[in-house]
């Protein structure tokens, strides 16, 4: 068993035009910086990206947007990225906006073999259009379907050679549920350690969900809104 890859370029091997990718992170926090840059270099086009946001104009998924590699975004939030909003309003980019919790749960469901489930979010709004509705306990709910991806790109703080992942603080966000939902899940980590180093009681993503892992380099970890007291 060898899940360890030497570089992002090797780890993303197999990504092709038109594929569906999940990309972890919330804003610029916990995004797979190395994998995104490798995708930029690879130049694959026509991608459908499932990611809560699309980075900012010049960082994160914003780089792929700018380079017109993305055909469709499935996200919950556009704000903070002027290019994203511009492409959306100009109709140059297909965008499916999904409530944030529904998005996270649809990813988890994709990994957990649950093809569909009911949630209340979005009832009565345009999100409900065309969706099956049903009342539970007198409250209307929408049927939402699982999401999966050809590749899921996630970023963790530490990972081991078995693919076990540990996140730091709020850098987990969507990485955990997306790691579960990739047909091939590629994890990049700040520190790659030998199996047996991480405490088995505190693994956020067990290795069974991770097919490839590599130690990333040169993390910028940009902050969108430095706020101090």
């Amino acid at each position: 068993m060898n899940k360890v890859y030497k570089s992002a370029n090797q780890a993303i091997e197999g990504v092709k035009d038109g594929m569906t990718l999940m990309v972890g992170g919330f804003g610029l926090c916990g995004i797979p910086e190395n994998s995104i840059k490798a995708l930029l270099e690879l130049g694959v086009k026509g991608l459908t990206c499932i990611s809560n946001n699309a980075g900012v104009d010049d960082f994160g998924l914003g780089l792929l947007l700018k380079n017109r590699q993305i055909h469709k975004m499935i996200s919950s939030y556009v704000g903070e990225n002027a290019e994203f909003e511009r492409q959306l309003l100009a109709g140059e980019l297909e965008v499916e906006l999904i409530p944030q919790g529904t998005l996270a749960e649809r990813c988890r469901a994709g990994g957990a073999g649950i093809p569909a489930f009911f949630v209340p979010a979005g009832f009565g709004t345009e999100v409900a259009e065309g969706k099956e509705m049903r009342d539970f306990n007198g409250k209307p709910h929408l049927l939402e379907y699982a999401l999966t991806a050809d590749f899921a790109f996630v970023k963790a703080w530490k990972g081991d050679t078995h693919g076990n992942l540990v996140f730091k603080q709020t850098a987990n966000n969507f990485n955990q549920s997306m790691a579960m939902a990739g047909k091939i899940t590629v994890a990049e980590v700040e520190e790659l350690v030998p199996a047996g180093t991480l405490d088995p009681n505190y693994i956020h993503v067990p290795g069974i969900f991770v097919q490839r892992i590599f130690e990333g380099k040169g993390y910028e970890k940009r902050i969108e809104r430095v706020t101090t007291r």
Binding site: Y77, P99, T102, P120, A121, G122, K168, Q169, Q176
Partner: protein, 221 residues
């Protein structure tokens, strides 16, 4: 006089109770954290994965891996926990959050809210707002009563795409505290010095006014 944003936050803070788990949206709602009454323990949830969010960091404490749902750097208090987005929204959807405070473009007298999109002009996306309004046990909207052009934002029917329906329980605006009842908007309190008549005039939907309407009780500051 119309309330400042800080005063709106201050008034909303009066709705807090000890032991409450509270989710504060971006903008005015975030300011509510500054007015939690002394000695009261309120635990702030940030939907990107924090329970027990604290104040903003000192410059030397800033950490890219520790942000709130507004993408601002934050800190956490003793007893905090971090978790992934699916568990975060399990808390929200499961009704474990006691109070949600969020902003809005428009609110109706049946509790509908619009807050995420202005067709053709601006799309922010709903983020976690649709999940929050669909499931929160108690929802307070913090907002300006009227737009910059003087148009009322408290309507009979939203003109903008909805975030949720029949969900808003209370509105704290710069002019008034208004409850959303089965019969529509009901005026509870006036901003200090603001007349009932001017609130009625600034509210596009009918406003139930019963008896003498007290002024908000805001500490002098």
């Amino acid at each position: 006089m119309a309330l400042t944003k800080e005063q709106i936050a201050q008034r909303i803070a009066q709705e807090l109770q000890d032991g409450y788990y509270v989710n504060l949206g971006i903008g005015i709602p975030t300011l509510v954290a500054n007015y939690i009454p002394e000695g009261m323990q309120v635990i702030l949830q940030s939907e990107n994965g924090i329970l027990g969010m604290g104040q903003f960091p000192l410059p030397e404490e800033v950490d890219a891996d520790l942000i709130n749902a507004g993408k601002q750097t934050v800190t956490v208090n003793a007893g905090a926990s971090f978790f992934d987005s699916s568990l975060s929204f399990a808390m929200i959807r499961g009704g474990h959050v006691d109070l949600t405070v969020l902003g809005a473009f428009e609110v109706t007298d049946s509790g509908d809210i619009a807050s995420w999109k202005i067709p053709g002009k601006m799309v922010k996306g709903m983020g976690g707002a649709m999940d929050l309004v669909a499931s929160a046990r108690n929802i307070i909207v913090a907002m300006q009563h009227c737009s910059k052009d003087g148009e009322s934002k408290l309507l009979k029917k939203c003109t903008l795409p909805l975030t949720g329906i029949n969900c808003v329980k209370r509105i704290v605006s710069d002019l008034a505290v208004i409850e959303v009842t089965d019969r529509g908007f009901k005026l509870l309190e006036r901003a200090p010095g603001v007349s009932t008549e001017s609130i009625i005039a600034a509210t596009a939907a009918p406003l139930i006014v019963e008896g003498e309407i007290p002024e908000m009780n805001l500490p002098v500051w």
